[in-house]
């Protein structure tokens, strides 16, 4: 050792490993316009495909005449359900145990539904040909209200399910009913509520919205008839699942299907499921022998792809008069649209909604969810929701506020009184979850202190008085949220997507000169996996993250994984990465011991090397070990240095956070201004603080949009009112406030590096924070509950109905 020997700190820093704000490797290509997204793909002879779509929400399709379209020069084919039926592809199974039409089969069930697929030599001819397809529709009565859909005389939507009194999730009690899913103890819950000193009851509606990633969905399908191999490039958040599904649908064996997710311009759950566009492109490619590209327009995306939410949540919460919660009852009317295509693990038709006891120690609870068909696009589980956790968090954080009103209590204090205590973890909730770890009181106290909560309440009280005296027309709202969410799906024994257990994987190969390539079963859509997974591995194996290439998304090379959504990449694939790193280290230890001529147990790991215990000047770095793995003949040890880990998580993880939104509301115009937004997140071990902060900013902005104006609404005949970005609210930089982020760190005890995942927390916690701020501003004037979105006119309506317009 001498002055030139790097210190442990220097050696650690050189790794750019766990916990560092390593700059992203992806940025080089993205900032130079050299990303590789699906629409960038060009193949020789490639054709363009696009859909004729229904303008009606419910109609018989009497006839389709594509003669004029086919006659247009440059049009290669026009596919209808009649063409797909012989292949049994006119319908396809959904991820939720239902089936959906690929192309209109006798009728259409939502506005924008796919009716015919036109294939042409370029996008211009394709657009012209679509206009020439004549479809004869006979309109049918429309139902867009899920409550009306369950009435006795409601229109029949799913004629294909006629007479079926049960579906994938049990009994169906009405032709528009999908399932009733229940958990918890209803009798005990009703008892507790019946006996309670205080009960608050409310209907909390989480309206329909849409993830709207900036890049729409699309694919390029290319059937190579010479080699019998299908290649499918596309916007897939779960490429391996798409491959398995494509194999089942097409009959082509999986080894002859290559699915590639290239760069994806945002997913947010919109790109998990299989869409008619993918199926039609595959068929068109097989039929024409040419590659076929399908890229949807924004209107197509908003009208026909996986929407999010649309949960009517009727809650009853009971408490002692001192504010100790004694029970929670929730019944949900879930509007799934025309087909149940929810991207949920198969045993959970309502996802993980039963996390709705939230951060609170509630002794008894019940959830019942009725799924309903309506004349709207299929979907429901998407948009940074962790499988309905956004709905659950909104529900409980609103019920807490309503209970606080009922009790006449401060809502921050009510939360504090009911938090699960740190010493109660692992905590078994009344609805069956085992929360891994948490320290809610610390987070809450930190948040309240950071915003000077007492000072804000004082300011608010003064403002109410000033308002009453006519000195101001602006109210101040303090929006509180302490959310607990559940991510990292999930243990194979109860979590699967179409039968594939929800494990994930990481495979790594170290090269002779000490760099490496690792592949995972996940796929980044902007989360920076190429940067962060390398950090996990760097810390485990002592090679710099800059020397580790991360690849995802090519099913020919990546180990099987269930993809990226539900914030599962860090909890599941991140664990696989840590464990595969430890497998490498285990073999490296034996090689090091051999090289150092000691026993395996006589060396110990030190940042980037194995050191002989008690003789620190005798060591072998991982780089040296890598070379030896290829160079030396080591008795009993195979050459090479690689490993794979498939990780079946023992449990989900439970990130949590405390968000506080301070909002000014102009009572006369309904406009708002977010004066301050403080977001404290606890995602356990933090892999890259810079990336975590970016995720929080992004998720909070999606939450702002959802709470303050975004919606997918329909008129009485099923016309979508928000099918373009004119009316589908996406905030610009001007409408978006500045966020202050903070954190605590409560590692997950069951995760190899204690990390929980964070991508969806800001949407989970953000929406209740913004919405509660609006509600809180009007609490002093008697407001209990007003449905989102809180756009100008609906805030104005609150003020108007409370008599504040004089």
């Amino acid at each position: 050792m001498n002055d030139l020997t790097p210190t442990p700190e220097e050696r650690t820093a050189k790794l750019k490993g766990l916990g560092t704000s390593r700059k992203r490797v992806e940025d080089a290509r993205f900032t130079q316009g050299k990303g590789n997204y699906v629409d960038d793909i060009k193949m020789p002879g490639m054709l363009h495909g696009d859909f004729v779509r229904s303008p009606y929400a419910h109609a018989r399709v009497k006839s389709i005449n594509a003669d004029a379209a086919r006659a247009l020069p440059g049009v290669i084919a026009v596919l209808t359900a009649a063409d797909l039926a012989p292949l049994n592809l006119h319908w396809m199974p959904t991820l939720a145990g239902d089936k959906q039409m690929v192309l209109a089969d006798g009728k259409v069930l939502f506005q924008g539904q796919e009716v015919a697929f036109v294939v042409a030599t370029d996008r211009y001819v394709c657009a012209d040909a679509i206009e020439l397809v004549e479809v004869d529709y006979e309109e049918l009565p429309v139902v867009t209200d899920p409550f009306k859909a369950l009435e006795p005389g409601a229109p029949v939507l799913r004629e294909d399910l006629a007479g079926q009194t049960s579906g994938a999730h049990g009994a169906r009690r009405h032709h528009n009913h999908i399932f009733l899913w229940e958990t918890g103890d209803e009798a005990a819950t009703n008892q507790a509520i019946g006996d309670a000193e205080v009960v608050a009851e409310e209907m909390v509606y989480y309206h329909r919205v849409h993830p709207c990633p900036l890049e729409t969905c699309g694919c390029v399908a290319s059937m190579d008839k010479v080699n019998g191999k299908l290649s499918l490039f596309g916007t897939f958040q779960a490429p391996h699942v798409v491959r398995t599904v494509a194999s089942l649908l097409s009959g082509i064996e999986e080894h002859n299907i290559r699915v590639v997710s290239p760069d994806i311009g945002g997913g947010f759950g919109n790109k998990v499921g299989v869409y008619p566009g993918y199926v039609c492109s595959i068929v068109a490619s097989i039929v024409t022998g040419k590659p076929v590209k399908w890229i949807e327009d924004r209107m197509d995306n908003l009208m026909a792809t996986a929407f999010a939410r649309d949960y009517w949540m009727k809650g009853r919460i009971s408490a002692t008069k001192d504010g100790k919660i004694t029970g929670l009852h929730c019944h949900v009317t879930a509007d799934h649209g025309a087909f149940d295509a929810c991207a949920d693990p198969t045993k959970f038709p309502a996802g993980f909604f039963h996390i709705c006891t939230g951060s609170y120690d509630i002794p008894v609870a019940y959830v019942g969810v009725d799924g309903v068909y309506t004349n709207k696009a299929p979907g429901g589980v998407a948009y940074r929701c962790s499988f309905r956790v956004t709905e659950a968090a909104y529900f409980i954080e609103r019920m807490i506020e309503v209970l606080a009103i009922e009790l006449g209590m401060d809502a921050a204090e009510l939360r504090s009184r009911n938090f699960i205590r740190k010493d109660q973890f692992p905590y078994h909730s009344a609805l069956g979850w085992e929360y891994d770890s948490g320290d809610y009181h610390t987070a809450w106290d930190k948040a309240l202190k950071a915003v000077d909560y007492a000072g804000l309440r004082k300011e608010q009280a003064e403002r109410v008085e000033a308002f009453k005296r006519g000195e101001t027309r602006k109210l101040l709202g303090i929006g509180l949220t302490h959310f607990t969410e559940i991510v990292g799906a999930g243990p194979v024994k109860n979590c699967d997507i179409l039968g594939m257990g929800m494990f994930d994987s990481c495979e790594i190969r170290i090269h002779p000169t000490g760099s490496a390539i690792a592949r995972l079963g996940t796929i980044s859509q902007g989360q920076g996996h190429a940067t962060t997974f390398a950090q996990i591995l760097a810390t485990e194996i002592g090679l710099s993250a800059d020397s580790i290439t991360i690849e995802e998304g090519d099913t020919d090379t990546a180990p099987y994984g269930l993809g990226t959504y539900g914030s599962r990449s860090t909890p599941v694939a991140g664990a696989a990465a840590a464990l595969v790193g430890r497998k490498i280290r285990a073999k490296a230890q034996m090689i090091a011991a051999y090289l150092l001529e000691v026993h395996d147990g006589d060396v110990e790991w030190d940042i980037d090397r194995f050191v002989v215990k008690g003789a620190p000047e005798r060591f072998k770095t991982m780089k040296e070990i890598a070379y030896a793995a290829y160079h030396n003949a080591i008795p009993g040890i195979e050459p090479g240095l690689e490993a794979v880990s498939y990780y079946d998580p023992p449990n989900m993880t439970y990130p949590f956070g405390a968000y506080i939104c301070v909002m000014e509301i102009d009572v006369d115009t309904g406009t708002h201004e977010v004066r301050q937004f403080y977001a404290l997140d606890d995602c356990g071990t933090r892999i890259n603080p810079m990336i975590i902060e970016g995720q929080v900013h992004g998720g909070l902005t999606e939450a702002l949009a959802i709470a303050m104006g975004q919606e997918i609404a329909y008129d009485e005949i099923g016309n979508c009112k928000n099918s373009t970005l004119m009316d589908f609210f996406l905030p610009t930089a001007v409408e978006t406030p500045h966020y202050t982020t903070d954190h605590t760190e409560t590692p997950s005890p069951h995760h190899p590096i204690g990390a929980k995942g964070v991508g969806e927390s800001p949407n989970v916690g953000g929406v209740p924070a913004f919405s509660n701020a609006v509600h809180d501003a009007f609490r002093a004037f008697g407001l209990r509950q007003a449905h989102m979105p809180h756009d100008h006119w609906r805030i104005w309506k609150i003020a108007n109905e409370l008599g504040l317009h004089g």
């Binding site: 700059k23 992203r24 992806e26 940025d27 080089a28 290509r29 993205f30 900032t31 130079q32 316009g33 050299k34 990303g35 997204y37 629409d39 960038d40 060009k42 020069p73 440059g74 996008r123 211009y124 001819v125 012209d128 709207c212 990633p213 900036l214 890049e215 729409t216 760069d263 994806i264 311009g265 945002g266 947010f268 327009d297 924004r298 209107m299 859509q525 902007g526 989360q527 920076g528 810079m690 990336i691 902060e693 970016g694 995720q695 929080v696 900013h697 992004g698 909070l700 902005t701 999606e702 373009t724 970005l725 004119m726 996406l730 610009t732 930089a733 001007v734 978006t736 500045h738 966020y739």
Partner: protein, 164 residues
């Protein structure tokens, strides 16, 4: 199908001549005819700005320009703003300050930021937010984009002062 016309464009300093229907959109001429896939299409109603390029010194949404209209124009796309050996200050700053995640809005955003700093070399945060209000982002919440642009401005202005 309309008949084609001769279109001349100077793009990133290179002259191009091609035959195109008048109705072809500039975004697709760039992406599909000239293989410049930096600018992206994110909507069809001219709202999102992912297609932003520079045309004759103006920030323009290339999805809202016909090829025929662009005949004779001088165009710069993200590909013309920097290269691997010569990254622009903005490109470096976006990486330094995590001003991007999925990258889809990024070419349009940086191209717009470039023109913004020509219009206003020393903007306030509010002016930056207003200046990029024609470019939507779904991933970043804009905060680090704004930080990246302000940092780039400071670097450029600092270098100018040092040179003077």
């Amino acid at each position: 199908m309309g008949k084609k016309m001769q279109i001349a464009l100077t793009v990133n300093g290179e002259a191009h001549e091609l035959l195109a229907e008048p109705r072809e959109l500039l975004i697709y001429v760039l992406r599909e005819r000239l293989n410049l896939t930096g600018p992206h299409a994110g909507c069809e109603t001219s709202h999102c700005g992912a297609c932003t390029i520079e045309m004759n010194g103006k920030s323009v949404k290339s999805c809202t320009v016909f090829a025929a209209q662009a005949n004779g124009a001088t165009i710069t796309t993200i590909e013309g703003l920097g290269s691997p050996d010569n990254l622009s200050v903005l490109q470096q700053s976006f990486r330094e300050h995590h001003g991007l995640q999925c990258g889809y809005c990024t070419p349009g955003m940086i191209t717009r930021a470039h023109r913004l700093l020509q219009e206003n070399p020393d903007p306030t945060e509010e002016e930056v937010r207003f200046g990029i209000s024609g470019n939507l982002c779904r991933c970043t919440g804009y905060q680090n984009i704004v930080k990246s642009i302000l940092a780039a401005a400071a670097t450029i202005n600092g270098a100018k002062e040092a040179a003077e």
